[in-house]
Protein backbone atom coordinates (compact mmCIF):
# COMPACT_ATOMS: atom_id res chain seq x y z
CA UNK A 1 0.00 0.00 0.00
CA UNK A 2 2.91 2.39 0.60
CA UNK A 3 3.72 2.50 -3.10
CA UNK A 4 0.11 3.20 -3.98
CA UNK A 5 -0.35 5.96 -1.41
CA UNK A 6 2.96 7.50 -2.49
CA UNK A 7 1.72 7.76 -6.06
CA UNK A 8 -1.60 9.21 -4.90
CA UNK A 9 0.33 11.82 -2.90
CA UNK A 10 2.50 12.60 -5.91
CA UNK A 11 -0.57 13.15 -8.07
CA UNK A 12 -2.06 15.52 -5.51
CA UNK A 13 1.23 17.40 -5.06
CA UNK A 14 1.42 17.79 -8.84
CA UNK A 15 -1.83 19.73 -9.16
CA UNK A 16 -1.54 21.65 -5.89
CA UNK A 17 1.94 22.96 -6.74
CA UNK A 18 0.45 24.62 -9.82
CA UNK A 19 -2.81 25.64 -8.13
CA UNK A 20 -2.97 28.93 -10.04
CA UNK A 21 -3.46 26.87 -13.18
CA UNK A 22 -5.49 24.00 -11.76
CA UNK A 23 -7.73 25.33 -8.95
CA UNK A 24 -8.19 29.08 -9.36
CA UNK A 25 -9.35 29.31 -13.01
CA UNK A 26 -12.42 27.05 -12.66
CA UNK A 27 -13.45 28.71 -9.39
CA UNK A 28 -13.13 32.18 -10.92
CA UNK A 29 -14.97 31.23 -14.11
CA UNK A 30 -17.74 29.56 -12.08
CA UNK A 31 -18.29 32.90 -10.36
CA UNK A 32 -18.72 34.53 -13.79
CA UNK A 33 -21.08 31.80 -15.02
CA UNK A 34 -23.24 32.03 -11.91
CA UNK A 35 -23.23 35.82 -11.92
CA UNK A 36 -23.99 36.31 -15.64
CA UNK A 37 -26.20 33.33 -16.44
CA UNK A 38 -27.76 32.60 -13.09
CA UNK A 39 -27.99 35.87 -11.30
CA UNK A 40 -28.39 38.39 -14.14
CA UNK A 41 -29.99 36.59 -17.11
CA UNK A 42 -31.55 33.90 -14.92
CA UNK A 43 -33.51 36.58 -13.11
CA UNK A 44 -35.66 36.92 -16.23
CA UNK A 45 -36.59 33.21 -16.18
CA UNK A 46 -39.18 32.37 -13.58
CA UNK A 47 -38.57 28.71 -12.73
CA UNK A 48 -37.19 25.57 -14.41
CA UNK A 49 -38.42 22.19 -13.20
CA UNK A 50 -40.12 24.12 -10.43
CA UNK A 51 -36.87 25.61 -9.12
CA UNK A 52 -35.44 29.14 -9.51
CA UNK A 53 -33.11 29.20 -12.54
CA UNK A 54 -30.07 29.97 -10.38
CA UNK A 55 -30.73 26.88 -8.25
CA UNK A 56 -31.38 24.82 -11.39
CA UNK A 57 -28.08 26.00 -12.93
CA UNK A 58 -25.67 25.26 -10.07
CA UNK A 59 -25.73 21.39 -10.14
CA UNK A 60 -25.06 21.41 -13.90
CA UNK A 61 -22.18 23.83 -13.48
CA UNK A 62 -20.70 21.72 -10.71
CA UNK A 63 -20.91 18.63 -12.91
CA UNK A 64 -19.26 20.55 -15.73
CA UNK A 65 -16.30 21.37 -13.48
CA UNK A 66 -16.14 17.80 -12.17
CA UNK A 67 -15.75 16.57 -15.75
CA UNK A 68 -13.30 19.23 -16.89
CA UNK A 69 -11.09 19.04 -13.79
CA UNK A 70 -10.87 15.27 -13.77
CA UNK A 71 -10.09 15.06 -17.47
CA UNK A 72 -7.56 17.90 -17.39
CA UNK A 73 -5.76 16.49 -14.37
CA UNK A 74 -5.05 12.99 -15.57
CA UNK A 75 -4.55 13.82 -19.22
CA UNK A 76 -1.93 16.45 -18.43
CA UNK A 77 -0.28 14.44 -15.65
CA UNK A 78 0.16 11.33 -17.76
CA UNK A 79 1.02 13.14 -20.96
CA UNK A 80 3.68 15.26 -19.25
CA UNK A 81 5.09 12.09 -17.70
CA UNK A 82 5.30 10.51 -21.14
CA UNK A 83 6.72 13.66 -22.65
CA UNK A 84 9.35 14.20 -19.91
CA UNK A 85 9.95 10.44 -19.87
CA UNK A 86 9.54 10.25 -16.10
CA UNK A 87 6.81 7.68 -16.71
CA UNK A 88 9.77 5.28 -16.83
CA UNK A 89 10.43 6.10 -13.19
CA UNK A 90 7.00 4.67 -12.43
CA UNK A 91 7.07 1.73 -14.81
CA UNK A 92 10.16 0.20 -13.19
CA UNK A 93 8.56 0.16 -9.73
CA UNK A 94 6.85 -2.90 -8.25
CA UNK A 95 3.43 -1.21 -8.34
CA UNK A 96 0.77 -3.29 -10.09
CA UNK A 97 -0.84 -1.81 -13.19
CA UNK A 98 -4.15 -1.54 -11.32
CA UNK A 99 -2.42 0.39 -8.53
CA UNK A 100 -0.79 2.76 -11.02
CA UNK A 101 -4.11 3.46 -12.74
CA UNK A 102 -6.08 3.71 -9.49
CA UNK A 103 -3.60 6.17 -7.96
CA UNK A 104 -3.69 8.46 -10.99
CA UNK A 105 -7.51 8.27 -11.06
CA UNK A 106 -7.64 9.26 -7.39
CA UNK A 107 -5.46 12.25 -8.26
CA UNK A 108 -8.14 13.30 -10.77
CA UNK A 109 -10.86 12.71 -8.21
CA UNK A 110 -9.02 14.78 -5.61
CA UNK A 111 -8.70 17.73 -7.98
CA UNK A 112 -12.40 17.47 -8.88
CA UNK A 113 -13.39 17.48 -5.23
CA UNK A 114 -11.26 20.54 -4.48
CA UNK A 115 -12.67 22.41 -7.49
CA UNK A 116 -16.24 21.35 -6.70
CA UNK A 117 -15.86 22.58 -3.13
CA UNK A 118 -14.64 25.91 -4.49
CA UNK A 119 -17.51 26.21 -6.98
CA UNK A 120 -20.05 25.27 -4.32
CA UNK A 121 -18.56 27.87 -1.99
CA UNK A 122 -18.89 30.47 -4.78
CA UNK A 123 -22.53 29.48 -5.36
CA UNK A 124 -23.27 30.09 -1.68
CA UNK A 125 -22.55 33.77 -2.29
CA UNK A 126 -25.63 33.88 -4.54
CA UNK A 127 -28.03 31.30 -3.19
CA UNK A 128 -28.04 29.03 -0.16
CA UNK A 129 -29.36 25.49 -0.25
CA UNK A 130 -28.32 22.12 1.12
CA UNK A 131 -28.11 19.04 -1.12
CA UNK A 132 -31.46 17.21 -1.29
CA UNK A 133 -29.86 13.76 -1.53
CA UNK A 134 -26.21 13.99 -0.46
CA UNK A 135 -25.47 10.28 -1.05
CA UNK A 136 -26.77 10.50 -4.64
CA UNK A 137 -24.76 13.66 -5.22
CA UNK A 138 -21.64 12.00 -3.82
CA UNK A 139 -22.19 8.93 -6.03
CA UNK A 140 -22.35 11.03 -9.19
CA UNK A 141 -19.46 13.32 -8.29
CA UNK A 142 -17.15 10.40 -7.51
CA UNK A 143 -18.06 8.12 -10.41
CA UNK A 144 -18.21 10.85 -13.05
CA UNK A 145 -14.89 12.17 -11.85
CA UNK A 146 -13.35 8.70 -12.13
CA UNK A 147 -14.85 8.17 -15.60
CA UNK A 148 -13.33 11.36 -16.95
CA UNK A 149 -10.07 10.76 -15.12
CA UNK A 150 -9.87 7.47 -16.99
CA UNK A 151 -10.85 9.18 -20.24
CA UNK A 152 -8.04 11.67 -19.65
CA UNK A 153 -5.56 8.86 -19.15
CA UNK A 154 -6.66 7.09 -22.33
CA UNK A 155 -6.36 10.33 -24.30
CA UNK A 156 -2.89 10.94 -22.82
CA UNK A 157 -1.80 7.50 -23.98
CA UNK A 158 -3.03 8.02 -27.55
CA UNK A 159 -1.90 11.66 -27.82
CA UNK A 160 1.30 12.49 -29.66
CA UNK A 161 1.21 16.22 -28.94
CA UNK A 162 -0.24 18.51 -26.26
CA UNK A 163 -2.79 19.81 -28.78
CA UNK A 164 -4.42 16.39 -28.97
CA UNK A 165 -5.51 16.72 -25.35
CA UNK A 166 -7.38 19.96 -25.97
CA UNK A 167 -8.89 18.67 -29.21
CA UNK A 168 -10.92 16.14 -27.24
CA UNK A 169 -12.00 18.85 -24.80
CA UNK A 170 -13.00 21.26 -27.57
CA UNK A 171 -14.71 18.89 -29.97
CA UNK A 172 -16.10 16.17 -27.73
CA UNK A 173 -16.37 17.00 -24.04
CA UNK A 174 -17.48 20.64 -24.14
CA UNK A 175 -20.24 20.11 -26.77
CA UNK A 176 -21.54 17.08 -24.88
CA UNK A 177 -21.58 19.06 -21.62
CA UNK A 178 -23.41 22.03 -23.13
CA UNK A 179 -25.91 19.80 -24.95
CA UNK A 180 -26.30 17.63 -21.87
CA UNK A 181 -28.38 20.19 -20.01
CA UNK A 182 -26.09 22.34 -17.89
CA UNK A 183 -28.03 25.48 -18.78
CA UNK A 184 -31.37 24.06 -19.89
CA UNK A 185 -34.00 21.49 -19.10
CA UNK A 186 -35.02 18.92 -21.71
CA UNK A 187 -38.44 20.57 -21.92
CA UNK A 188 -36.81 23.80 -23.19
CA UNK A 189 -35.37 22.30 -26.42
CA UNK A 190 -37.07 21.16 -29.67
CA UNK A 191 -38.23 17.55 -29.92
CA UNK A 192 -35.44 16.33 -32.29
CA UNK A 193 -32.75 17.63 -29.96
CA UNK A 194 -34.61 16.06 -27.02
CA UNK A 195 -34.44 12.70 -28.80
CA UNK A 196 -30.71 13.07 -29.60
CA UNK A 197 -29.94 14.10 -26.02
CA UNK A 198 -30.93 10.63 -24.80
CA UNK A 199 -27.74 9.32 -26.40
CA UNK A 200 -25.54 11.85 -24.65
CA UNK A 201 -24.08 10.16 -21.54
CA UNK A 202 -23.33 13.51 -19.91
CA UNK A 203 -27.08 14.23 -19.87
CA UNK A 204 -27.47 11.39 -17.33
CA UNK A 205 -24.54 12.65 -15.28
CA UNK A 206 -25.90 16.18 -15.05
CA UNK A 207 -29.40 15.01 -14.20
CA UNK A 208 -28.14 12.58 -11.59
CA UNK A 209 -26.21 15.43 -10.01
CA UNK A 210 -29.20 17.76 -10.23
CA UNK A 211 -31.37 15.21 -8.48
CA UNK A 212 -28.74 14.82 -5.78
CA UNK A 213 -28.54 18.55 -5.19
CA UNK A 214 -32.06 19.89 -5.72
CA UNK A 215 -34.22 16.73 -6.01
CA UNK A 216 -35.24 17.36 -9.66
CA UNK A 217 -34.27 15.59 -12.86
CA UNK A 218 -35.23 15.12 -16.52
CA UNK A 219 -34.23 11.45 -16.43
CA UNK A 220 -34.89 8.41 -14.28
CA UNK A 221 -32.31 8.28 -11.49
CA UNK A 222 -31.77 4.48 -11.62
CA UNK A 223 -31.05 4.86 -15.35
CA UNK A 224 -28.64 7.73 -14.66
CA UNK A 225 -26.91 5.67 -11.95
CA UNK A 226 -26.66 2.62 -14.22
CA UNK A 227 -25.23 4.61 -17.17
CA UNK A 228 -22.56 6.08 -14.93
CA UNK A 229 -21.69 2.72 -13.38
CA UNK A 230 -21.38 0.96 -16.74
CA UNK A 231 -19.24 3.76 -18.15
CA UNK A 232 -17.01 3.69 -15.10
CA UNK A 233 -16.48 -0.07 -15.43
CA UNK A 234 -15.76 0.24 -19.16
CA UNK A 235 -13.30 3.12 -18.84
CA UNK A 236 -11.49 1.58 -15.87
CA UNK A 237 -11.11 -1.75 -17.68
CA UNK A 238 -9.83 -0.05 -20.83
CA UNK A 239 -7.30 2.04 -18.92
CA UNK A 240 -5.92 -0.87 -16.91
CA UNK A 241 -5.73 -2.95 -20.09
CA UNK A 242 -3.72 -0.24 -21.90
CA UNK A 243 -1.32 -0.04 -18.95
CA UNK A 244 -1.00 -3.80 -18.79
CA UNK A 245 -0.03 -4.11 -22.46
CA UNK A 246 2.17 -1.02 -22.14
CA UNK A 247 0.39 0.86 -24.91
CA UNK A 248 2.73 3.74 -25.84
CA UNK A 249 4.38 3.25 -22.47
CA UNK A 250 6.75 0.40 -23.16
CA UNK A 251 9.02 0.18 -26.18
Amino acid sequence: MIGFTTLVRREIVRFTCVFTQTIFPPVVSSFLYIFIFGFSLGGRIETVQGAPYLVFLIPGLIMMYVIESAYANTSSSLFISRWANNIEELLVTPLSYLEMVAAILIGGLARSLVVVSGVYAVSLCFVRFLPAHPAVMFYFVVLVSLIFSAAGMITALFAEEFEHLSLITTFVITPLIFLGGVFHSLSMVPAPLRWITQFNPIFYMINGMRYGMIGRSDASIPVCAAVVLVLFAAFLTATVYLFRIGFKLRK
Binding site: G3, T6, A84, N85, N86, L91, V92, P94, I245, R250
Partner: protein, 310 residues
Protein backbone atom coordinates in the same frame (compact mmCIF):
# COMPACT_ATOMS: atom_id res chain seq x y z
CA UNK B 1 21.37 -20.30 -6.04
CA UNK B 2 19.69 -18.84 -9.15
CA UNK B 3 21.71 -16.43 -11.30
CA UNK B 4 21.07 -12.72 -10.77
CA UNK B 5 20.15 -12.43 -14.45
CA UNK B 6 19.25 -15.26 -16.76
CA UNK B 7 18.21 -14.52 -20.34
CA UNK B 8 17.41 -17.27 -22.80
CA UNK B 9 16.60 -16.93 -26.52
CA UNK B 10 15.48 -13.32 -26.14
CA UNK B 11 14.17 -11.83 -29.36
CA UNK B 12 12.76 -8.35 -29.60
CA UNK B 13 11.36 -6.50 -32.58
CA UNK B 14 10.48 -2.82 -32.55
CA UNK B 15 7.28 -1.60 -34.18
CA UNK B 16 9.12 -0.86 -37.44
CA UNK B 17 10.06 -4.59 -37.51
CA UNK B 18 13.68 -3.78 -36.64
CA UNK B 19 15.13 -6.81 -34.86
CA UNK B 20 16.85 -5.28 -31.85
CA UNK B 21 17.60 -8.54 -30.03
CA UNK B 22 18.21 -11.79 -31.84
CA UNK B 23 18.03 -14.92 -29.71
CA UNK B 24 20.15 -13.27 -27.02
CA UNK B 25 21.57 -15.46 -24.23
CA UNK B 26 23.06 -14.09 -21.04
CA UNK B 27 23.80 -15.28 -17.51
CA UNK B 28 25.05 -13.08 -14.72
CA UNK B 29 25.88 -14.77 -11.42
CA UNK B 30 24.97 -13.22 -8.09
CA UNK B 31 27.61 -10.83 -6.80
CA UNK B 32 29.29 -10.31 -10.17
CA UNK B 33 30.36 -6.93 -11.49
CA UNK B 34 29.26 -7.51 -15.05
CA UNK B 35 30.12 -5.28 -17.98
CA UNK B 36 27.81 -5.39 -20.97
CA UNK B 37 29.71 -4.00 -23.91
CA UNK B 38 28.75 -3.36 -27.48
CA UNK B 39 28.80 -0.73 -30.19
CA UNK B 40 26.00 1.84 -30.54
CA UNK B 41 22.71 0.18 -31.44
CA UNK B 42 23.95 -3.29 -30.50
CA UNK B 43 21.05 -3.90 -28.10
CA UNK B 44 22.48 -2.96 -24.69
CA UNK B 45 19.77 -0.52 -23.65
CA UNK B 46 17.04 -2.70 -25.17
CA UNK B 47 18.24 -5.64 -23.06
CA UNK B 48 18.11 -3.46 -19.95
CA UNK B 49 14.65 -2.19 -20.92
CA UNK B 50 13.36 -5.75 -21.19
CA UNK B 51 14.80 -6.68 -17.79
CA UNK B 52 13.29 -3.66 -16.08
CA UNK B 53 9.85 -3.73 -17.72
CA UNK B 54 10.37 -0.78 -20.05
CA UNK B 55 10.17 -2.86 -23.22
CA UNK B 56 8.01 -5.72 -24.41
CA UNK B 57 9.57 -8.69 -26.16
CA UNK B 58 8.28 -11.31 -28.55
CA UNK B 59 10.22 -14.43 -27.58
CA UNK B 60 12.43 -15.82 -24.86
CA UNK B 61 12.69 -16.03 -21.11
CA UNK B 62 14.08 -13.38 -18.80
CA UNK B 63 14.59 -14.07 -15.11
CA UNK B 64 15.93 -11.99 -12.26
CA UNK B 65 17.06 -14.08 -9.30
CA UNK B 66 14.93 -16.93 -10.67
CA UNK B 67 11.75 -14.83 -11.09
CA UNK B 68 10.19 -14.20 -14.47
CA UNK B 69 10.08 -10.52 -15.47
CA UNK B 70 6.59 -10.91 -16.94
CA UNK B 71 4.84 -13.30 -14.60
CA UNK B 72 6.49 -12.07 -11.38
CA UNK B 73 7.05 -8.50 -12.52
CA UNK B 74 6.41 -6.95 -9.12
CA UNK B 75 9.04 -9.10 -7.46
CA UNK B 76 11.65 -8.65 -10.19
CA UNK B 77 11.22 -4.90 -10.31
CA UNK B 78 11.54 -4.67 -6.53
CA UNK B 79 14.98 -6.29 -6.81
CA UNK B 80 16.33 -3.93 -9.47
CA UNK B 81 17.72 -0.43 -9.15
CA UNK B 82 17.99 1.21 -12.55
CA UNK B 83 20.29 4.09 -13.47
CA UNK B 84 19.09 5.01 -16.96
CA UNK B 85 21.16 6.66 -19.64
CA UNK B 86 18.84 9.67 -19.96
CA UNK B 87 17.67 11.93 -17.13
CA UNK B 88 14.05 11.05 -16.45
CA UNK B 89 13.23 12.90 -13.25
CA UNK B 90 9.79 14.00 -12.18
CA UNK B 91 9.66 17.69 -13.22
CA UNK B 92 7.33 18.63 -10.35
CA UNK B 93 9.59 17.47 -7.52
CA UNK B 94 12.76 18.74 -5.83
CA UNK B 95 15.90 16.60 -5.65
CA UNK B 96 15.03 15.47 -2.14
CA UNK B 97 11.41 14.73 -3.02
CA UNK B 98 12.54 12.71 -6.04
CA UNK B 99 14.40 10.38 -3.70
CA UNK B 100 11.69 10.18 -1.03
CA UNK B 101 8.97 9.44 -3.59
CA UNK B 102 11.15 6.84 -5.27
CA UNK B 103 11.59 5.04 -1.97
CA UNK B 104 7.83 5.21 -1.44
CA UNK B 105 7.07 3.63 -4.82
CA UNK B 106 9.20 0.70 -3.71
CA UNK B 107 7.34 0.36 -0.41
CA UNK B 108 9.76 2.20 1.88
CA UNK B 109 7.81 4.28 4.39
CA UNK B 110 8.16 8.05 4.39
CA UNK B 111 10.24 8.48 7.54
CA UNK B 112 12.72 5.82 6.43
CA UNK B 113 12.69 7.33 2.93
CA UNK B 114 13.63 10.72 4.39
CA UNK B 115 16.55 9.17 6.30
CA UNK B 116 17.82 7.37 3.22
CA UNK B 117 17.40 10.48 1.08
CA UNK B 118 19.49 12.48 3.57
CA UNK B 119 22.16 9.78 3.58
CA UNK B 120 22.50 9.61 -0.20
CA UNK B 121 22.18 13.35 -0.76
CA UNK B 122 25.05 13.90 1.67
CA UNK B 123 27.04 11.00 0.27
CA UNK B 124 26.78 12.33 -3.28
CA UNK B 125 27.40 15.91 -2.17
CA UNK B 126 23.90 17.07 -3.14
CA UNK B 127 22.59 18.05 0.28
CA UNK B 128 22.91 21.79 -0.38
CA UNK B 129 20.88 21.36 -3.55
CA UNK B 130 18.14 19.20 -2.04
CA UNK B 131 15.39 21.83 -2.46
CA UNK B 132 16.29 22.55 -6.07
CA UNK B 133 14.38 21.01 -8.91
CA UNK B 134 16.54 18.82 -11.10
CA UNK B 135 16.67 21.30 -14.00
CA UNK B 136 18.83 23.56 -11.82
CA UNK B 137 21.43 20.86 -11.21
CA UNK B 138 24.58 20.43 -13.30
CA UNK B 139 25.03 17.36 -15.51
CA UNK B 140 27.29 15.67 -12.96
CA UNK B 141 24.83 16.36 -10.14
CA UNK B 142 21.96 14.93 -12.16
CA UNK B 143 24.03 11.81 -12.83
CA UNK B 144 24.69 11.43 -9.08
CA UNK B 145 21.02 11.98 -8.32
CA UNK B 146 20.12 9.19 -10.77
CA UNK B 147 22.41 6.81 -8.91
CA UNK B 148 21.09 7.91 -5.53
CA UNK B 149 17.53 7.36 -6.76
CA UNK B 150 18.34 3.82 -7.88
CA UNK B 151 19.78 3.00 -4.46
CA UNK B 152 16.86 4.28 -2.38
CA UNK B 153 15.22 0.86 -2.04
CA UNK B 154 18.52 -0.97 -1.55
CA UNK B 155 18.11 -3.20 -4.61
CA UNK B 156 19.77 -6.59 -4.92
CA UNK B 157 21.02 -5.70 -8.38
CA UNK B 158 22.06 -2.32 -9.69
CA UNK B 159 21.79 -1.78 -13.44
CA UNK B 160 23.70 1.19 -14.81
CA UNK B 161 23.28 2.23 -18.43
CA UNK B 162 26.30 4.36 -19.39
CA UNK B 163 26.58 5.91 -15.91
CA UNK B 164 29.72 7.92 -16.63
CA UNK B 165 28.78 9.26 -20.05
CA UNK B 166 29.56 12.96 -20.11
CA UNK B 167 30.91 13.21 -16.56
CA UNK B 168 34.29 14.69 -15.71
CA UNK B 169 37.28 12.55 -14.75
CA UNK B 170 37.13 13.34 -11.05
CA UNK B 171 33.52 12.26 -10.75
CA UNK B 172 34.18 9.22 -12.91
CA UNK B 173 36.93 8.01 -10.57
CA UNK B 174 34.72 8.77 -7.57
CA UNK B 175 31.88 6.71 -9.07
CA UNK B 176 34.25 3.87 -9.94
CA UNK B 177 35.49 3.51 -6.38
CA UNK B 178 31.94 3.77 -5.06
CA UNK B 179 30.66 1.06 -7.42
CA UNK B 180 33.58 -1.21 -6.57
CA UNK B 181 32.83 -0.80 -2.89
CA UNK B 182 29.14 -1.60 -3.45
CA UNK B 183 30.09 -4.73 -5.36
CA UNK B 184 32.54 -5.78 -2.66
CA UNK B 185 29.62 -5.74 -0.21
CA UNK B 186 27.81 -8.30 -2.36
CA UNK B 187 25.62 -6.21 -4.63
CA UNK B 188 25.36 -7.51 -8.18
CA UNK B 189 26.20 -4.77 -10.67
CA UNK B 190 25.32 -4.79 -14.35
CA UNK B 191 26.98 -1.99 -16.27
CA UNK B 192 26.93 -0.88 -19.87
CA UNK B 193 29.65 1.45 -20.98
CA UNK B 194 31.38 2.81 -24.03
CA UNK B 195 34.62 3.13 -22.10
CA UNK B 196 36.53 -0.13 -22.39
CA UNK B 197 38.92 1.15 -19.75
CA UNK B 198 35.98 1.46 -17.39
CA UNK B 199 34.97 -2.16 -17.93
CA UNK B 200 38.59 -3.28 -17.53
CA UNK B 201 38.95 -1.43 -14.24
CA UNK B 202 35.62 -2.39 -12.70
CA UNK B 203 34.23 -5.62 -14.09
CA UNK B 204 34.99 -9.18 -13.16
CA UNK B 205 33.02 -10.53 -16.12
CA UNK B 206 31.87 -9.12 -19.42
CA UNK B 207 29.43 -9.88 -22.18
CA UNK B 208 29.89 -8.45 -25.66
CA UNK B 209 26.70 -7.81 -27.57
CA UNK B 210 26.66 -7.12 -31.27
CA UNK B 211 23.71 -6.87 -33.63
CA UNK B 212 21.37 -8.12 -30.89
CA UNK B 213 23.40 -11.24 -30.02
CA UNK B 214 25.87 -11.95 -27.25
CA UNK B 215 29.06 -12.85 -29.11
CA UNK B 216 31.18 -13.49 -26.02
CA UNK B 217 30.58 -13.83 -22.32
CA UNK B 218 33.16 -14.77 -19.72
CA UNK B 219 35.60 -13.46 -17.14
CA UNK B 220 37.58 -10.55 -18.59
CA UNK B 221 40.86 -12.51 -18.61
CA UNK B 222 39.22 -15.43 -20.41
CA UNK B 223 37.79 -13.16 -23.12
CA UNK B 224 41.23 -11.61 -23.71
CA UNK B 225 42.91 -15.04 -23.75
CA UNK B 226 40.69 -16.08 -26.64
CA UNK B 227 43.06 -13.95 -28.68
CA UNK B 228 46.03 -16.28 -28.78
CA UNK B 229 48.61 -14.12 -30.50
CA UNK B 230 50.07 -10.72 -29.87
CA UNK B 231 48.67 -7.67 -31.55
CA UNK B 232 50.29 -5.77 -34.39
CA UNK B 233 49.67 -2.07 -34.69
CA UNK B 234 50.71 -0.26 -37.87
CA UNK B 235 51.09 3.52 -37.95
CA UNK B 236 50.54 4.75 -41.53
CA UNK B 237 52.20 7.69 -43.27
CA UNK B 238 48.92 8.57 -44.98
CA UNK B 239 45.47 7.54 -43.68
CA UNK B 240 43.67 4.61 -45.26
CA UNK B 241 40.00 5.38 -45.82
CA UNK B 242 38.85 2.03 -47.18
CA UNK B 243 40.19 -1.20 -45.82
CA UNK B 244 38.58 -4.61 -45.21
CA UNK B 245 37.39 -5.13 -41.63
CA UNK B 246 38.51 -8.73 -41.88
CA UNK B 247 41.49 -10.31 -43.62
CA UNK B 248 41.14 -14.07 -43.75
CA UNK B 249 39.80 -14.97 -40.31
CA UNK B 250 41.39 -12.05 -38.55
CA UNK B 251 39.57 -8.82 -37.77
CA UNK B 252 41.36 -5.61 -38.66
CA UNK B 253 40.50 -2.50 -36.73
CA UNK B 254 40.94 0.92 -38.27
CA UNK B 255 41.90 3.49 -35.63
CA UNK B 256 42.38 7.28 -35.48
CA UNK B 257 40.44 7.94 -38.66
CA UNK B 258 42.58 5.54 -40.72
CA UNK B 259 45.99 6.56 -39.38
CA UNK B 260 46.50 3.23 -37.59
CA UNK B 261 45.57 -0.40 -38.22
CA UNK B 262 45.45 -3.06 -35.54
CA UNK B 263 45.09 -6.83 -35.89
CA UNK B 264 45.93 -10.11 -34.20
CA UNK B 265 49.26 -11.63 -35.26
CA UNK B 266 48.72 -14.86 -37.13
CA UNK B 267 50.95 -16.67 -39.63
CA UNK B 268 51.15 -14.70 -42.88
CA UNK B 269 48.83 -12.01 -41.61
CA UNK B 270 51.36 -9.16 -41.59
CA UNK B 271 52.34 -9.91 -45.18
CA UNK B 272 48.74 -9.94 -46.37
CA UNK B 273 47.96 -6.61 -44.71
CA UNK B 274 51.16 -5.06 -46.04
CA UNK B 275 50.30 -6.25 -49.56
CA UNK B 276 46.85 -4.71 -49.31
CA UNK B 277 48.33 -1.42 -48.11
CA UNK B 278 51.01 -1.52 -50.79
CA UNK B 279 48.26 -2.00 -53.39
CA UNK B 280 46.69 1.22 -52.14
CA UNK B 281 50.04 3.03 -52.27
CA UNK B 282 50.17 3.53 -48.49
CA UNK B 283 53.49 3.38 -46.64
CA UNK B 284 54.13 2.28 -43.07
CA UNK B 285 55.61 4.71 -40.59
CA UNK B 286 55.97 2.43 -37.56
CA UNK B 287 55.20 -1.13 -36.47
CA UNK B 288 54.38 -2.09 -32.85
CA UNK B 289 53.76 -5.52 -31.39
CA UNK B 290 52.04 -5.78 -27.99
CA UNK B 291 50.01 -8.07 -25.75
CA UNK B 292 46.23 -7.99 -26.43
CA UNK B 293 43.97 -5.84 -24.29
CA UNK B 294 40.23 -5.97 -23.66
CA UNK B 295 39.78 -3.31 -26.33
CA UNK B 296 41.37 -5.64 -28.89
CA UNK B 297 39.10 -8.48 -27.87
CA UNK B 298 36.07 -6.19 -28.09
CA UNK B 299 36.99 -4.82 -31.50
CA UNK B 300 37.89 -8.26 -32.78
CA UNK B 301 34.60 -9.78 -31.60
CA UNK B 302 32.41 -7.03 -32.95
CA UNK B 303 34.26 -6.87 -36.27
CA UNK B 304 34.15 -10.67 -36.76
CA UNK B 305 30.44 -10.91 -36.18
CA UNK B 306 29.83 -8.07 -38.63
CA UNK B 307 31.07 -10.32 -41.43
CA UNK B 308 32.87 -8.98 -44.53
CA UNK B 309 36.49 -9.66 -45.31
CA UNK B 310 39.22 -9.86 -47.89
Amino acid sequence: MPPAISIKNLTKFYRNRFKALDNLQLDVAQGQFFGFLGPNGAGKTTTISVMTGLANYQQGEVQIFGKDVRRDYRQTRAMIGLVPQEFNFDPFLSAEQILIYEAGYFGVDRSEGKKRAEHWLKFFDLWEKRKHDYKRLSGGMKRRLLIARALMHDPAILILDEPTAGVDLELRYHLWSFLKELNSKGKTIFLTTHYIEEAEKLCTHIGVVHQGRVVAQDAIGAVIHRLHGDFVELALKTPVYEFPHQVGEVAVTILDGGKRLSFEEKPGMVNRVLQLLHGKGIEIEKVDVRRPKLEDAFLSLTAKSSGGGA
